[in-house]
Subunit: 302 residues, 2 copies
């Protein structure tokens, strides 16, 4: 019974148990290691949120330039960002990994280090997962959270007249990816932005009518939000906050900034650091400076 799978499972389980954040232990009846995790139901008055997000070698990262620790961080950050976009609180995560031979023991320890560091900061416990061998690296993160009953934010709530906001500067991740390919390190703020995106769990969205996170680019994600809400939007390029050095094109179509895109009724004060970039319209089309907005964000070549 000595092999890499068993070693790895034992190591991960041990790490996961040691690293359950304080305050999270009391609701975990049974953590990682059995057929399923057993969790206390969220208290009365709260609903469950659940999201899953898949990161695949080649499509979402290049193994030769993406550090293992940054990848572990990014995998969890994407799931947490979905919970942030719902106005929720993340509680638990599960991780399934498809592991190619190049992902050795040291690389995996670094990967989990990145994941556990972000989990601690976000008070999230790893309560399950699965491992399999395969010809490429794939990671599927599941994040479970909760929100007050009836208050979780959907993409579908934007109404004509609402003001459209983003929670922070855009284009930094695309710029960082460019610089990473040129060999720059995480000392460069844009590279750091790309490698260690921060899910915006801190943005207070209580008054928002609709929200989503910007993972595939402002243009594509705005298309999705307005489509779900059956509305359109007029965006002003002058309003879009650019990451220092990033182009408008990177801000519009770059993706992976993990800022939040949300709408507020007129007259509502936006959360600190947010910027109005346009308005929601009844007419179902998207414009940028009164011309059609091109939609070019990241899409999988399925």
């Amino acid at each position: 019974m000595k092999n890499k799978e068993l070693f790895l499972i034992n190591w991960i389980c041990k790490q996961a148990v040691q690293r359950v954040p304080r305050g999270r232990k009391s609701t975990i009846r049974l953590g990682i290691g059995d057929d399923a995790a057993i969790l206390a139901s969220p208290p009365n008055g709260r609903e469950l949120l659940i999201t899953t997000d898949l990161v695949v070698e080649g499509a979402h990262f290049q193994p030769d330039t993406h550090p293992a620790r940054a990848l572990g961080h990014k995998v969890l950050a994407r799931g947490l960002s979905d919970i942030a976009a719902m106005g929720g609180t993340p509680l638990y995560c599960l991780l399934s990994l498809c592991l190619p031979s190049w992902a050795g023991r040291e690389w995996l320890k670094q990967f989990y280090q990145g994941l556990f560091d972000l989990a601690r900061g976000s008070r999230v416990a790893l309560v399950g997962g699965d491992l399999a061998a395969g010809r490429l690296f794939a990671a599927d993160i599941v994040v479970i959270g909760s929100a007050p009953r009836g208050r979780a934010l959907r993409r579908s709530g934007a109404r004509p007249g609402d003001i459209l906001y983003v929670s922070g500067p855009l284009g930094g991740s695309a710029l960082g990816l460019e610089r990473l390919a040129q060999g720059r390190s995480a000392k460069d703020p844009a590279v750091r932005r790309h490698l260690y995106p921060q899910p915006r769990l801190d943005v207070r969205l209580a008054a928002a009518t609709a929200a989503m996170d910007i993972s595939d680019g402002l243009s594509l994600d705005l298309y999705r939000l307005t489509r779900a809400s059956r509305v359109g939007a007029d965006v002003q390029s002058a309003g879009i906050p650019l990451w220092p050095g990033a182009s408008l094109d990177q801000a519009l179509h770059g993706g992976e900034d993990y800022e939040l895109l949300f709408t507020l009724p007129t007259g509502r004060r936006p959360p600190r650091g947010s910027t109005a970039i346009g308005a929601i319209t009844a007419r179902r089309r998207l414009t940028l400076d009164n011309k059609p907005l091109p939609i070019q964000g990241f899409q999988h070549d399925l």
Copy 2:
């Protein structure tokens, strides 16, 4: 905005919404299609169960011999089997897919057909998921269920003196895999057993002290159960129920039968169809007919 990803997402979302089982609708506040699903908390007195299971091309199936519909069935069956092993009721699932170019539109429809057919029979709703392109097929299924508070079954509860049971015949899936490779179809009961395993959600485990599902083979899974319980076990080969035509070796090490392995205190009547195969011992070793039990079940070559 016309491409395969968008088409596929729209098609899956539409199917998922149409196929929510009756009685499940009232607890789904928001199903597939947003950043996260919103679900009502299980009622007071019940706890949450959550499991994730990864199926990878090459490791778990061969695309040239495994029909798409059977694969969709199997992916969900594996997750449901984990919930069955906890003595729980499955409620919702989420599915992440890594899709290679060979998985075309028709293949994917068949795949989802298999998944949705089993979901309906098990009263499980698909409430989320993710898609990405990659060089191989990988599917990560998440199943959420519930169980009465404090009553979910763990691997760790077996006590010396308990009787060890399996819920049904073993070795059929290994035999079916062999016959599938020889070109036999699902008309063969063993091939059907391999292609369409039935998660044992029907087995009444209320009195069990420990349980798990047999996915990687009796020997390896028994090793895991006894290790978690800090006990050993004496197994009698004459007691092991064999699938018609299967060898003892296939029953011991074949895997993928998805029967349940569980322990009951002596004197307890077992669920119908279950068979006693041995007894739990304080001495932490495994024997088969008083000789050391070889442990050879399926393990990933990580």
